[in-house]
Assembly symmetry: D2
Homo-oligomer: 488 residues x 4
């Protein structure tokens, strides 16, 4: 059974992520926890069962799925702490020192839901997911009746917000009246991001700050299109304002310094500038990646990112004295673990992962091993308060970007990619080649191209970012077409 995709278990609650599935997964997770944690630290039959904290986002289906998950976990014999509605990063934070399960479909439409599993602040890796899949397939039975548990309620949001505020205070400057607009998209950032920013001193105006699982205010995925209300709001408010969002001589602020959009469960963040334009996601990554690299006192600071992330990140990280490692989409936590494993094997260098991110999703490693859009909001706000968003963007080169798809039957993909692993490096002999996740070529000026087979459709995708992107994409696509023709 292949329950887990790149984003955990996710799908329609009527057909896929049903209460029946949630119960089965809960039962499987409980059994897996008991198998893993039976370390016999307590004598006399007085062992404490392993513990898991359970939360859900604001979706309509969340309460029923949480009850089913609770039934599976409790009849599986583990201790369950019900945390109610939370942003995903707050659940991850609460899973430190125990397990966690989050019911969320992130930015999917309202009819969907999903299941994300955490252990001690990190998402389950593939191996752990497979163990759960196998138990679900084997219809894991309940624990003995006298091992079933009664659940407890916990309130964890307050402690999370305390920790975020304390962490962000290390960066930049006091917000001190900075005006920020936040579009919560009726999702779980609503009780988190605006509160943290206000506590740090900002004046926050929210759009769609009421939690509503129908996502009535805008699509649940924050895109330039779905954020049009926010963008217009900011642009109009800033018209004719000299220093938008900053206190003037009278102490009052007009307009907004910048704006923030989140998805339904607040792992994802989009930054909108004072003109109402979305700041490119890779530029946001580059700002944070450079900052974390520069501040690190390790000899070998490493930023982990994904193949589709821009070379501008590499550029800034290199400039700051670090290096970039890439890992497949949805596997940042595995990438961090891999770098650490390598570092542990090599005692001669002081290597440290300082940041890990894929577009819109940031792991602030010093805070915790999970994607956290609320921390991103707080840290970026402090940085903006210090020097302004424009200064942060200034050193970053944004080159034109394009993506095209070349027809390729599914059965030929492996063959085509094999051929490209040879023909592409031959065609661009000056490029650095990386074939870990497709074929990625990077050039001296940090422009790059990535070729990889689509996972779901009969295409090979070509991505490129370059000052002359059309020429580069044209050349590469031609080589791909040749490979497809030869493979047929």
């Amino acid at each position: 059974m292949d329950l887990f995709g790149t984003a955990g278990i996710r799908g329609s609650v009527e057909e896929r992520v049903t209460p029946e599935l949630a119960l089965a997964v809960g039962r499987a997770v409980a059994a897996e926890m008991r198998a893993t944690e039976s370390d016999g630290t307590r004598e006399g039959g007085a062992a404490r069962e392993p513990e898991i904290v359970l939360a859900r986002d604001g979706r309509v289906s969340g309460a029923a799925l949480a009850a089913a998950m609770e039934a599976g976990l409790a009849s599986g014999g583990v201790r369950v702490c019900r945390a109610g509605q939370l942003p995903t990063p707050a659940l991850a934070h609460a899973s430190q020192g125990r397990y966690g399960v989050m019911l969320t479909a992130s930015h999917n439409p309202p009819a969907d839901n999903g299941i994300k599993l955490f252990r001690d602040g990190s998402e389950f890796d593939r191996e752990a997911e497979r163990a759960v899949e196998e138990r679900v397939a084997a219809e894991q039975p309940a624990a003995g009746w006298d091992e079933w548990t009664t659940t407890e309620r916990v309130d964890t949001l307050g402690g999370y917000l305390d920790d975020v505020a304390a962490y962000a205070a290390r960066f930049g400057a006091d917000l001190d009246g900075l005006r920020i607009a936040v579009d919560c998209g009726n999702g779980m950032s609503a009780p988190a991001t605006p509160t943290v920013l206000r506590r740090l001193g900002a004046e926050v105006v929210t759009l769609n700050g009421n939690v509503d699982g129908h996502f009535p205010g805008r699509g649940s995925k924050p895109t330039p299109e779905t954020l049009r209300d926010l963008r217009a709001f900011v642009a109009d408010a800033n018209e004719g304002v000299a220093e938008p969002g900053r206190p003037g001589a009278d102490g009052d602020s007009e307009g907004f310094a910048f704006a923030i959009g989140h998805d339904g469960d607040a792992d994802r963040i989009v930054i909108v500038d004072a003109d109402g334009e979305v700041v490119h996601e890779d530029t946001v990554l580059a700002i944070l990646a450079e900052r974390y690299t520069r501040e690190s006192d390790a000899d070998d600071p490493v930023v982990v990112t994904t193949p589709n992330a821009s070379g501008r990140i590499d550029e800034r990280v290199r400039e700051a004295g670090g290096r970039v490692e890439r890992v497949r989409l949805g596997a940042l936590h595995e990438g961090i673990a891999a770098v650490r494993a390598d570092a542990a094997a090599d005692e001669t260098t002081d290597t440290s992962v300082v940041f890990a991110a894929e577009p819109w999703k940031h792991i602030h490693v010093a805070f915790g091993g999970w994607i956290d859009g609320v921390v991103s909001a707080a840290v970026i706000a402090r940085l903006v308060a210090d020097v302004g968003l424009e200064s942060l963007r200034e050193p970053i080169t944004e080159r034109p970007y394009r993506k095209v798809s070349v027809d390729c039957p599914d059965e030929d993909k492996a063959d085509v990619m094999d051929r490209l692993a040879t023909t592409l490096p031959e065609a661009f002999s000056d490029a650095t080649v990386d074939t870990d996740h497709g074929v990625r070529l990077e050039f001296a000026d940090a422009s790059w191209t990535l070729v990889r087979p689509s996972g779901t459709e009969p295409y090979v995708r070509v991505y490129a970012e370059s000052d002359d992107v059309d020429a580069l994409v044209g050349d590469v696509a031609g080589i791909v077409e040749d490979a497809v023709a030869e493979a047929a």
Copy 2:
């Protein structure tokens, strides 16, 4: 599928009454509620969903099963009020004006649990149960995602106890320091019966008054054997006490006027006298039946009971000017409905069901249409405070009772019972015959015998109560053996 037995759905939580089943039953009940209640009383798409209150007894498996049931109901689109742990009669009380579901296995061992369904204070009848069974068999799917509900918590015990206290106050006399011992058997009577009796003025000492789903104090079924601690406690405390449990000249009471034992969910009650002896269950029925009949101002007061209940009930009810109707075990609520249907059809007589009971289980019709051991405790305590337990028992004739089993293959049972329907009345031509539930013969002195096939074992059972019970049982068993021989 044959989910429901005479006591609802009941069995091992590991094998039969699993969270998976609870979820499926919840989904089925929700669909059935919506099918039944869609009466369109609200305009403009603003209909309120039908509502159900959900409770559980103190069993270890209760919390997990309740979560599964909640998941089924909420994803089925009905409004769910979670009432936590309750005695079964308190849940029935809370189901008035809506639906109710009780997770309890009553007096079964701790590894079991069960599901009881209520509508407006009465258990589901067979037709409603069958509708649920069919939906479970058909794997009732979830409601549309946007109809799923979020559950609410409710506290209903306080209101129930208020109502019980107010109802009981109609009977007998103030308790005024009467001492009563109550063995709660670690079940759900613990937060109910002692509280009500104390509020009514009693001095209550409890045994096993801590709720514990392991039932550590005694077996969960109250029998003369499992109640031996209680019986010894009362007997020893009363040794040499003139008026046990009643305030003496100094205002203090010594010993106990009587004692009470409940099962795990407080529908069942056992009365123990001041000597530590269990009062026969039929005698308790007779006391209440006579009282309710005598107090009725209907022309035709009716008491509903079951075939295995003693003729002493008929004797007392007749004496008080009423009549008795019998219905199969576990179906008192259907018996009440049947009498009422007959009464409604016949406008010439003023018929009223004043009480319904089977051994240990009493429906106080004027209070509500459910079995209620807490009300029984309160009412009997007030009656005892008034005239003493001995005066209540005095008019009731307790004849010797016996029960024997005659071997009979399952496949012959129908034939045997057919034969007996003829041969038994022939053999006892002076008896009144009732063949509605087996063959029951009643004699002029209220002695009686009942012959019926066992539902689960290869026997035909013979019950009898008579001054010369051995002779009567011998005669009847002989006739049964003849019928078995002929049928073979």
Copy 3:
């Protein structure tokens, strides 16, 4: 002691509305409830204590004050249902059939809080408030220790929203994709108004929809100034849109049909039109007043309002066949009671109060006897969906309005008002005169003037609305100055 102002008890939580005061008021209310409700309906000492439901708005001080109030009520011996955070109208709704207490300072700044008392859906009248004041002054002691109560949690918001949606569905047309912007001001309308509008079919975008007791988004009082973000948002979104907020040919809506602003506890509502302009509060009153009058089938439909409310209301109500009665500010519930008392005394006419309102605050009498901004939002949205906001405003004449203050020492006010009661009617012999609350003159074209002493400052105020308002105000102010001079 003079605890209650026109808006109940209200003030700084550090100095006036402290936990100590909340405890004292809770104790006093409990004692008053017990004195009022001791009706002996239960026998045998089994009386149920009177019940009160307790809620708070989203202010920072709310939780601590609620705990203090709970302590006062519970040690006063009444049953307390804790309802958590609610809009004031939802608490009023929940107080039906029992008592209610709401901790809110409505639109006051965040450092304030307040106490509003309800009985059966209506605010306490002066007499009941005085009884509480006297008990607070007398330091009402606790009830006997064995009468103290334990509180229960209740969830009442869901039922309220159901009822609002069902009620609003009687009016206008389906919302069916109508786009509406709602500025919740970080207050308690956030979980109510957007939800109801969405359920009725609207597409709702919220501003400041996250509940935050610091009111970070805007001032807690909705004024044209504090609503500037909302107004700009709507105006900009509607630029160049043909039918703002209505679905076009493609089924999608652009812009907003209108917008809504609430205060901190959602009793008050401000309507903003598609141009981003605030609709005059008296015009909103006139729309609703006319609608309710027209729909009434009473012979004598009455609208209750306050002296400062415009003659345009009278004009529309008269046009619809009803009449207007005025009562002092903050006393609409007393005005309703007075009209009903008169009606009860006169059996010849079928009089019915159909609506009661003061600027921004509306009592929808058929729904309940409290001010309810959530119902106003839902009803107005349905009316707008039907015919558009402009059509609703069209028949209403909005004349120029002015307010001036004439100096007058406090000690002369009574004398001055006495003189004006004579001189003003003499000066405007064609006007209808009403001297119940100051001196109010109304002219044939529904223009009017009101003269009354300020309650807090050394002025007599002159209000006027007229096509030639400067002339009218000038004339009236001259007469007032004469009276002041004569009185000196």
Copy 4:
């Protein structure tokens, strides 16, 4: 102001420990916590407020007082975790790493209640109590409005029971079917002691195991008299049983190995033997003191106890290689602190407090610094399971005990005690003298006498334990009378 007695704040809820007082104490404690804990460990204004956990016992007044305490704490600006009903030791356990407040009057009658304060598992010392008293006297005002907090619910009982079970498992043997009777006295031991014993393998029968703040089952203070039901129950059940409470050849147990009585909040424990007799409280102390001393691997194991505790403790502790220190009643935690302070000053010896106790109240130092009757129950049960209660008592010499009172005017007490500090040692030159808390003489055979003035009545008390106690008391009382005569 002298709020705190030897047992914290305690008294009638109508007159002394009112909600008003609870609010004032809560406010004072919050201010004191903030003054003490302001350690500035968090930057950027993001400090986390100090935290306190709040619980109550089962008294009727508990809910209202807890609400008042919560109001005081929350308006004082500290974080409050509401833990509901708990035994006092469970609250102390939960206060580790933070503060704690327990609302309990321990064994006082039901009309009383009280306040006990904890910091990190230990009761407040006198200095901390005085700081609170001063703030209450000074009417500590609320914190600034924006520092008021919202409280959280926590469930802590489960974790406490886990820890008790794990701790007890270090001692003695598995309970394995041992039968134990527990009289919970309707107090807070009900959800704790029986559960722990059952989890450890015992068969537990409870008396008065339903929590009821009226203490209907027996007086709230466990004495030989109030425990008469329990004692008779055990004695009768054990009549004729060879090995009471131990599994026979058939695996079933009859009777009870021993029995336990607790007070209302489970800090106090009384042990009843298999004959239904109360085991002397000092004997229980001696059993535990010896065991802890013997198991210690410190060079200088110390047991802390009070002056009225018997010499048999000293005897057993000495035998096991340790020593005893005494401290005034109600100040065991201060005695522990004093011994530790001395030990810290002297680096040459390895001193360790291994146990601290006064009659009926035991601090299991290795478990935590609070009095804990639940741990006592679990540890003693394990010891009994190992060797039987009789073997545990066997080495302990129980000498006759007497207490007499000698008349002495209050104003002469100081003078009299001064004289006795000289005359008593002179009269008994072979005794060891301790004048820290009255005058205490101990003889070579561990017999002893203590003379001290009553704190509340015009007496000097003489306590003595000796094989010839009448002679010893006679001699001492004579010397006291002489001193009184001389002082007059």
